[in-house]
């Protein structure tokens, strides 16, 4: 499933060439829109030429609809594409400065490059300024490091902020965006009329293009809303790779192998116990965290942010609940997780059977041992013992973190 990492797949020279080609596409579209010409850009702020707003918002809406359409269809993994993280106030201040920059200098960083490439000397001076400004920032940022890193909200999206489904937000953005694009087109037409440079032909042609593009965007946004975004269950149903792992029993780590991983300095182990509070208080493994099943989806983002070498072990009394939790964790291939084979019951059987009396015919995924006291991890067998010899891992595979785009800030 998209996205891919061109440098990982093709190696450095070729993978980088892919980015040069995308950059060329970017450069060509900026140039044909007229963004190499300062007046086309600053006209926006004098209620004259409105190309900046019209082109920018059209492109944003087109890309938005296509991103969430392909994500909804399960072709693109939205969780692995670059969403600029929110640092609210530094972002607002930076935006203001860029706004001042465009009105004083005539460009923004990308358009100044296209201007330079078109032979415009003012564009070259602007690019030189961008470079100087960046170095200046590097030199003084220590003085306001705290502000620079303030109001950090991580990967924070409009659907999360508004508490609405993604499809609804996309549809709302498209409807509002189209209205604003028509509005700015009307502003531009009024200016051209005043200047006497508006032809009837242009009015007709623009209206036709605007109508067709608006219609396509609305249809696309409706489709996004109807299809919705894939749930973890959808992602699991499409994940044939992990389904095979489960069917072949390769999702289950024996107690011995898990113990070795816990003591392995190259592994960052995370033990998730999905049993109820009562069972957890009676007996749990040292270092285990108890989580409710409903908390699992929200934990994924944090687990994805754990370093390379992180391995998650899920456990329940037997295996049923742990498997359900595991399915959610691995559905999108972002978390490296395994189920403790045999669960806590199996663990006790192996290390602490002498202490407890077994329950006859226990129902599935309930405790199979009578634990007399709620001693949690204070039972001797609850602390995994360091193995004497190191064997190669049979089930556990160390994964590099799934690639997530680094984006335009790099």
């Amino acid at each position: 499933m998209a996205p891919f990492d061109p440098v990982e797949i093709l190696g450095k020279p070729l993978g980088y060439l892919v980015f040069v080609l995308f950059g060329m596409g970017f450069g060509v579209t900026l140039e044909i829109a007229g963004f190499g010409l300062a007046h086309k850009l600053v006209g926006q702020f004098y209620f004259k030429d409105q190309t900046v707003f019209k082109t920018m918002f059209t492109s944003v809406l087109v890309a938005m609809v296509l991103i969430f359409l392909t994500s909804g269809l399960g072709w693109l993994d939205y969780d692995r594409i670059f969403v600029p993280p929110t640092y609210f106030w530094p972002g607002v201040l930076g935006g203001l400065l860029l706004g001042f920059g465009i009105i004083l200098g005539g460009y923004c960083p990308g358009t100044s490059m296209v201007s330079s490439a078109s032979g415009h000397l003012d564009g070259i001076f602007f690019v030189a300024g961008v470079m100087a400004g960046g170095l200046l920032f590097g030199n003084v940022v220590d003085g306001f490091w705290e502000f620079y890193n303030s109001s950090f909200m991580g990967r924070f999206t409009l659907p999360e902020w508004l508490g609405l489904p993604t499809g609804v937000v996309v549809f709302g953005a498209v409807v509002m965006g189209i209205l604003l694009i028509w509005g700015s087109d009307a502003i531009e037409k009024a200016w051209k009329r005043r200047e006497g440079i508006l032809t009837q032909e242009e009015v007709k042609k623009d209206r036709k293009i605007l109508s067709v593009v608006s219609l396509m965007l609305i249809v696309g946004a409706l489709a996004v809303m109807l299809i919705g975004q894939p749930s973890l269950a959808d992602a699991w149903n499409r994940n044939t790779e992990k389904q095979t792992l489960l069917a072949e029993g390769k999702a289950f780590v024996p107690a011995e192998e898990m113990t070795q991983a816990i003591y392995d300095p190259l592994i960052n182990p995370i033990l998730l116990d999905v049993r109820n509070e009562r069972d957890f208080n009676l007996y749990h493994l040292e270092g285990a965290r108890r989580v409710d099943m409903e908390q699992i989806p929200d934990m994924i983002e944090d687990l994805v942010n754990e370093p390379d070498g992180t391995v998650v072990f899920v456990m329940s009394n037997d295996e049923t609940a742990a498997i359900e939790a595991w399915k959610m964790l691995v559905a999108k291939n972002t978390v490296n997780a395994y189920v403790l084979k045999g669960g806590i019951n199996g663990w006790i059987e192996e290390f602490g059977a002498d202490k407890f009396v077994p329950v006859e015919n226990h129902p599935d995924d309930t405790l199979a041992w009578i634990i007399p006291e709620a001693r949690g991890a204070k039972w001797p067998s609850a602390i995994p013992e360091q193995p004497h010899e190191k064997k190669p891992y049979e089930i556990i595979k160390l994964q590099k973190k799934a690639p997530t785009g680094a984006g335009g800030c790099g």
């Binding site: 980015f19 970017f26 702020f45 607002v92 920059g101 409009l158």
Partner: protein, 184 residues
Amino acid sequence: MTAATTTETKSKPKRTPKPYANAILAGVLLGLVLFLVYFFTGDGLGASGGANRIAIWLAKIVAPAWVNSTPYLIKYGGGVKNPLDSFIVMLDIGVLLGGFLSAWYFGRFNIETIKGPQVKVSFRWLMAFLGGTLAGFGARMARGCTSGQGLNGAATLSVGSWAFLLAFFAGGYLLAYFVKKLWF
């Protein structure tokens, strides 16, 4: 170009420049490029990041000690790190190439200075440099420019990017009235 625009031409264009594309169609194309780069690479578009890395590369040639002792710059080009070794620099190389090819193909490549009729060329250059400095500083502050923060974040529904875009337009409109002489 409007009647108010004048240019200082050093060499006459060899052909009549072709008119620019319709703004909406250009937007559809730009949207497709943005979508494709996201779909195939997971990364968005960007411009200022590459310019910043090229600047650090240049600074490293002139003043390596300064680059190696400034924390923010070390991240990009400290020690044996090559500041140019990043996809974002490749995007910028592409932008320059694409911009040049398009301008040349449509007969719009021309060595000239775009400026308003009331300002001198040297003053226009000074303001372009100053505006560029503000933009370069602002782009670092916002962790991305109009493309890297604005386009990417708006299309992927980032809250911070929408706030950034609002601030960007607000900044432009706020100052526009006072500097009209620069342009018209």
